[in-house]
Amino acid sequence: MPTIQIYFDGRLVRTTELQGEALRIGRRPDNDITLDDVAVSGNHAILHIIPDPIFREQRHVEVEDCQSTNGTLVNGERVTRQRLSHGDVLRMGRHELHFRDESVSALEQTAIFIAEDELE
């Protein structure tokens, strides 16, 4: 599952798994991720978690800037909406968000399921 690690002044303050359809980020407390930072807008950005139409289990994440005052930067460049890759660094105000997505599925193998009441 993709995660973001949130750093403030170079210090890791929080790690969040990206679940559901979208996560709202901003200074106001009604966001999914609240950043206590005067340089962050009330509603700053949204992380969209989008299931892949072709590959099962796979999803990608896009960041959308909500017309924030100071902008959303991905690897140093200001973006309006952009797909994220593993290792991307987002900057919002004095916060840095490190995007990690190392989705490797466990070994899968067909196995027989026997209900407990069938076992003697």
């Binding site: 139409p53 072709i54 590959f55 099962r56 466990a106 067909t110 027989i112 399921f113």
Partner: protein
């Protein structure tokens, strides 16, 4: 209306497993297609799946136009294979070997299909751009979907989705799910093991079948396997495809 059915298939070990326990077979002349996904260590799985595919190809080598006779012979051949498996397992010291199966026979005037399945190997139909799963898995997650405790979306990514509740080779009698369906010109059919349907969405498989409809069917089968491998190839991959066209 008489229909012409073409077939193609491909199977691969995938990127993670050491052995290919899936087996496929088809006979275009008699209108038979089979996919089996074997279970059991020490190569027992591949013995079981191959035995079932070979048995069906041998027992059903003659076409049968009457849909009910066609379906009944298919069911009977699967029941025979189920009974033959334990003896074969004992002889080769591979007790506990089992397999899924999904098989279909073309009947009528090429306009009907008799379908049989046990386990979580599937049949899909692509018709008018819509990909639809025609078989219902015999699996734990399917039971959880049926009793309302899991959504299909949750099931598709569940860590328990590999557990099947019905298979060939473990009991004397097996309930084989049967289906009789009509074929229309332009239809595409896809039989597969979970190594394909776990990696690609129904939409993804349907799109590839649709996009390949102008070219050779074998190229589509190869592309599906290649794409499942590119998506991880965590399990063995098996696919057999059918295409129905008006016979000119």
């Amino acid at each position: 209306m008489s229909l012409k059915i073409t077939m193609a298939g491909a199977t691969d070990t995938g990127r993670v497993r050491k052995h290919n326990e899936d087996a496929i077979g088809w006979n275009e002349a008699c209108g038979l297609a089979v996919v089996a996904d074997g279970v059991g260590g020490h190569q027992a799985g591949e013995v079981a799946s191959t035995l079932v595919v070979d048995h069906l190809l041998e027992a059903l080598a003659e076409a049968e136009a009457n849909p009910h006779a066609c379906a009944e012979a298919l069911r009977a051949a699967i029941a025979e294979a189920n009974r033959a498996l334990p003896a074969h397992a004992r002889e080769s010291h591979r007790e506990g070997m089992a397999t899924t199966v999904v098989a279909l026979r073309v009947c009528g005037d090429g306009d009907k299909l008799a379908v049989a399945h046990v386990g979580d190997s599937r049949l899909y139909r692509l018709r008018n751009g819509v990909m639809q799963q025609l078989t219902v898995d015999h699996s734990l997650v399917q039971e959880l979907i049926d009793n309302g405790s899991m959504t299909p979306e949750e099931a598709a990514v569940s860590s328990r989705r590999n557990l099947i509740t019905r298979s060939l080779g473990l009991e004397d009698e097996v309930a084989v799910d049967m289906l009789l369906t009509s074929v229309r010109p332009g239809d595409g059919y896809l039989l597969c093991s979970d190594g394909l349907s776990d990696r690609l969405t129904d939409l993804g498989m349907g799109m590839m079948l649709e996009q390949g409809s102008g070219g050779p069917l074998q190229a589509v089968a190869d592309k599906l396997v290649e794409t499942a491998n590119a998506a991880g190839g965590q399990d063995n991959i098996a696919v057999v495809l059918l295409r129905a066209e008006t016979d000119e």
